[in-house]
């Protein structure tokens, strides 16, 4: 699903955000990317979602070579991705329902189908009763769950999440983790960047540890993490 071979990322006039990063994630895996802040977690996710391009090395996601994908193909590449943002990136000029429906609108799904899928996604995150509300009136945890519903409504094969529990308490964090585990159980490849050790411990999944832009540790699932 994701294969990095000696990937470097250097921002203009800056240090190398990623140095010689190589790893492989199979379809259906669930992987945590962790490390100190500034270690390159976010950069890694940005490369995978083609917000940034690698400076050197080869990165292949979903069979596409990220270094070579034409700009006009980028939107179609992203349609196979679900992205959960740390700051949610919800639109406050429309309802919860319309926020979640956005990825379907973008790809031109039929309106009857849109209603079904949006409600299924909202039901999944437990927010179906709030579909008519504006997300601005929701709590942080609820807003995050709207973001998650939006990330999975178009049934992506790869789900990316950047610090999905960064702004919520432990109870909510565990609820959110359970959602990701459930999506993974249904076959979605999940990649979560987090420094929340509690989550990693609890999930018992594979963990990539980044340190100063390099992979310091790649522990396979259920190992290397204390129980």
């Amino acid at each position: 699903m994701i294969e990095f071979n000696h990937v470097f990322k250097r921002y203009p006039g800056e240090y190398d955000a990623l140095k010689n990063v190589s790893f492989k994630i199979e379809r259906g895996e669930m992987v945590f990317v962790t490390g100190h802040s500034g270690a390159g977690k976010t950069t890694l996710l940005k490369l995978i979602s083609l917000i940034e391009r690698p400076t050197r090395g080869q990165a292949v996601v979903n069979g596409k070579n990220l270094g070579k994908l034409a700009v006009r193909r980028v939107p179609y590449f992203r349609r196979d991705l679900g992205i959960v943002f740390q700051n949610y990136k919800l639109l406050f000029d429309r309802s919860v329902y319309d926020n979640v429906a956005l990825p379907l609108l973008v790809t031109g799904v039929e309106s009857r189908e849109v209603g079904k899928r949006v409600r299924a996604a909202l039901d999944k995150v437990g927010l179906l009763p709030k579909e008519r509300l504006n997300p601005i009136v929701l709590s942080g945890g609820e807003q995050q769950r709207v973001g998650i519903a939006r990330a999975i409504v178009h049934r992506p094969s790869l789900l990316l999440a950047d610090e999905p529990t960064g702004n919520v308490d432990i109870v909510l964090a565990e609820e959110i983790l359970d959602l990701f585990l459930d999506f993974n159980h249904h076959g979605v490849t999940v990649l979560i960047a987090t420094h929340d050790q509690r989550l990693i411990t609890r999930a018992r999944k594979r963990m990539l540890v980044l340190k100063h832009g390099e992979i310091a540790h790649d522990s396979p699932s259920a190992a290397g993490t204390p129980q």
Partner: protein
């Protein structure tokens, strides 16, 4: 193919609905833009209507360009009649009126009111006159040639062609028309900038939405579409405002025009923008709107990338 078309149509309906909603959400800003466009377009369109009317009215005068042939005083009546007959048969001539010296005097007495004074004179001072009406629709050069031809006759003392002022008027109108077109082009540019600026602000206002849509896999075409719709809608509504301004102006001027027309024996008929003209105006508005937003969106959409 049919599925694709249906999807396409559905999407366009949706975009149109959202665009209208957004227009309704900020009615004052939209209204001001639309009004600015309407007033900008009203100037060249109004001038065009005025010139069009002047041209139409002066068309009638053009064909009236007639040649007056004043006969030598010693020319015999019979030879003048022969000449009239010959001129009548020329291809460039539609009609010839012969006014004999006697008729000329009688007419002059009647019209001038100098009847008594003229009786004092022992002989008729007026020459005989042939009024030559050329066939309508001839160009000025042909008329000049005809004039030269007639002037060459021995019986003719002087020949006058009274079309110079008509020609000058036409030249003036052609000049004015050209000026209106350049003014129109300039103001079209102003409309382009007005719409461009409105759409630029709309794009910046919806920066977050554009960023999110790009992240969700929205193509530039998809993201651009609502802005193009908004541009076309602004342009179209602006042109409609122009139309209303012209209609109201015409109504406002109808009183004075009617009294002016009455003094000209009702020959004056002022026409507003025709149906075809209105169509051109609305199309031009829509096209300017499309172009203005296309230019603005193209530039600013590229600048907004998720980070």
């Amino acid at each position: 193919m049919i599925r694709f078309l249906r999807k396409y149509g559905r999407h366009h309906r949706h975009v149109l609905a959202t665009t209208l909603q957004q227009l309704a959400r900020a009615p004052l800003a939209s209204l001001m833009t639309v009004a600015a466009i309407g007033i900008t377009l009203a100037l060249p369109t109004g001038l065009y209507v005025v010139i069009d009317n002047l041209q139409r009215m002066s068309q009638g005068w053009d064909t009236g360009g007639q040649i007056s042939l004043f006969m030598k005083r010693d020319a015999a009546e019979s030879s003048i009649e022969k000449l009239a007959e010959r001129v009548r048969r020329m291809r460039a001539v539609a009609r010839v009126d012969y006014i004999s010296r006697g008729q000329a005097l009688a007419e002059f007495k009647q019209l001038s009111g100098f009847g008594e004074a003229l009786n004092v004179l022992d002989r008729n001072p007026l020459p005989a006159l042939l009024v030559v009406h050329p066939t309508p629709g001839q160009n000025p050069e042909a008329l000049q040639a005809l004039l030269r031809d007639l002037r060459g006759n021995d019986l003719v003392e002087t020949a006058q062609l009274d079309v110079d002022w008509v020609r000058r008027l036409h030249a003036l109108l052609a000049l004015a028309e050209r000026a209106v077109w350049s003014l129109g082009a300039l103001l079209a540019l102003a409309v382009l900038l007005t719409i461009g600026n409105t759409i630029r602000l709309a794009v910046l206002n919806r920066r977050d939405e554009i960023e999110v849509m790009k992240l969700m896999g929205g193509t530039d075409t998809f993201i651009r579409r609502p802005f193009l719709y908004a541009g076309v809608l602004h342009g179209l509504l602006g042109a409609a405002v122009t139309w209303v301004i012209l209609a109201v102006t015409q109504l406002f001027l109808s009183g004075p025009i009617a009294s002016l027309a009455a003094s000209y024996g009702n020959e004056l008929r002022v026409e507003g923008l025709s149906v075809a003209g209105s169509g051109v105006l609305l199309t031009a508005g829509a096209l300017l709107g499309w172009l203005g937003s296309r230019l603005a969106v193209g530039r600013h959409l590229r600048a907004i990338e998720p980070s």
